[in-house]
Amino acid sequence: MSEADPIQVATLWFLSARTMAIAGEEIPSLQESATGLYAQAILGFTEDICLKAKDAAHIKNKTLIDCLSGLRQLPRELSEKILTGVMMISYSDRSMKPLEVRWASMLASAIEVSPDEFQRCCVNARVIASMLRPHGAES
């Protein structure tokens, strides 16, 4: 995948993030808007890119295998940022269901992060989740 294709990268982000939210069995509005804020504030996508990334032409036919494969091909820094964001989505309700753990595990395997690197992503995810919650990271 070309590094210069931000729409494809943004599509990977939205697919990874919504999969984590779905694995958590509910999609509260907080997770919904946190997804876009993270895309724009941390990943640096523009509004237009975020809109196009969710367009049927880009996202409709992408499977989770495509998503894992796409993430694997991204530069390491970027894929770690996506993993961090996905963990942020997972943390936002302060509980993890088995499918959330599985998805996190699959993402971590796909981008080949070490346990230490994964833990760093988790720490950063906690930091960001606490910023995006109205009352810190409290439930």
Partner: protein, 274 residues
């Protein structure tokens, strides 16, 4: 609609104060659109307080923006109604702070307030039947001049454009696109995820991260930050993330200011012509 009539009669049965504010807003829409916006903002604030006291527990924010945010996050105010309430709040604040409100803008918000009112009645009295008739815009006290009509058209075009840009901003932030069938997408992803989970389990791959993730989640953020292995990273991450988040918030606030400036520019143009 005659002078004695109002679009908001039905509200009296549900909340007299909200009904009174709505009728006052209606009266001012042509003669004093800024006052119309004050009244509409107060009307939305009164509604938000009532909904909060009826449906929410715990500390209640006194700030209207935060109150609406909590109501929306709590699933009490649906997105469409929340958008309209925020629009009234923003334009009401702008009017309070001296930004002039054009008549078509006030009329647009009045129409939105009418729609919100119908929904509000159903929420405050469960099971009540409220059938909204078509909103009838109040007539101006004097017939509009050709110049005023042209100006109103220009403002309407601008308002449409602002609305489209606000919708684009909102949709860009959401997890799903506007054309997507969320239920269908959710079903498909869940099915795929369960299949992958089964394959992984059949291959003997345990959910090895479960204990680890549980451990991380059980730790207090402060304890993690104090951990010498991660403290530096988390503090740096916080600084960077805060800066980036602030940039986006500033960008969104700048956009709203631009909308106001565009509106004010048109108002000044009209004043120059007149």
């Amino acid at each position: 609609m005659s002078d004695q009539e109002t679009n908001f009669h039905f509200l009296e049965r549900f909340d007299k104060r909200v009904a009174q504010l709505a009728k006052q807003a209606e009266e001012y829409v042509h003669t004093d659109p800024d006052s119309c916006m004050f009244k509409l903002r107060l009307m939305v604030e009164t509604m938000a307080k009532k909904l909060t006291s009826l449906q929410m527990q715990g500390d209640i924010s006194k700030d209207l923006g935060a109150m609406l945010g909590s109501l929306e996050r709590g699933g009490i105010v649906p997105r469409r109604q929340a958008d309209s309430m925020h629009a009234i709040r923003r334009d009401g604040n702008a009017a309070v702070h001296g930004s002039p409100t054009p008549v078509p803008t006030a009329m647009r918000r009045l129409r939105e307030a009418y729609k919100i009112s119908g929904w509000f009645c159903k929420i405050v009295k469960r099971g009540s039947k409220v059938k909204l008739d078509e909103f009838i815009p109040p007539h101006p006290p004097d017939p509009l001049t050709k110049e005023s009509e042209d100006f109103h058209k220009k403002i309407d075009i601008l308002e449409e454009s602002i609305e489209e840009r606000r919708i684009a901003t909102r949709e860009s932030l959401l997890m799903f696109g506007p054309q997507e069938d969320v239920q269908e997408v959710t079903r498909r992803i869940k099915e795929e995820l369960v299949a992958l989970d089964n394959v992984a389990a059949a291959a003997g791959e345990p959910t090895i991260d479960a204990d680890f993730v549980a451990l991380v989640m059980a730790m207090d953020l402060e304890q993690i930050e104090e951990d010498p292995r991660h403290g530096g990273d988390s503090r740096q991450a916080r600084r960077e993330a805060e800066q980036q988040l602030e940039q986006i918030k500033k960008h969104l606030a700048d956009r709203e200011n631009e909308f106001l400036e565009e509106r004010t520019f048109l108002m000044k143009q009209r004043d120059t012509i007149c």
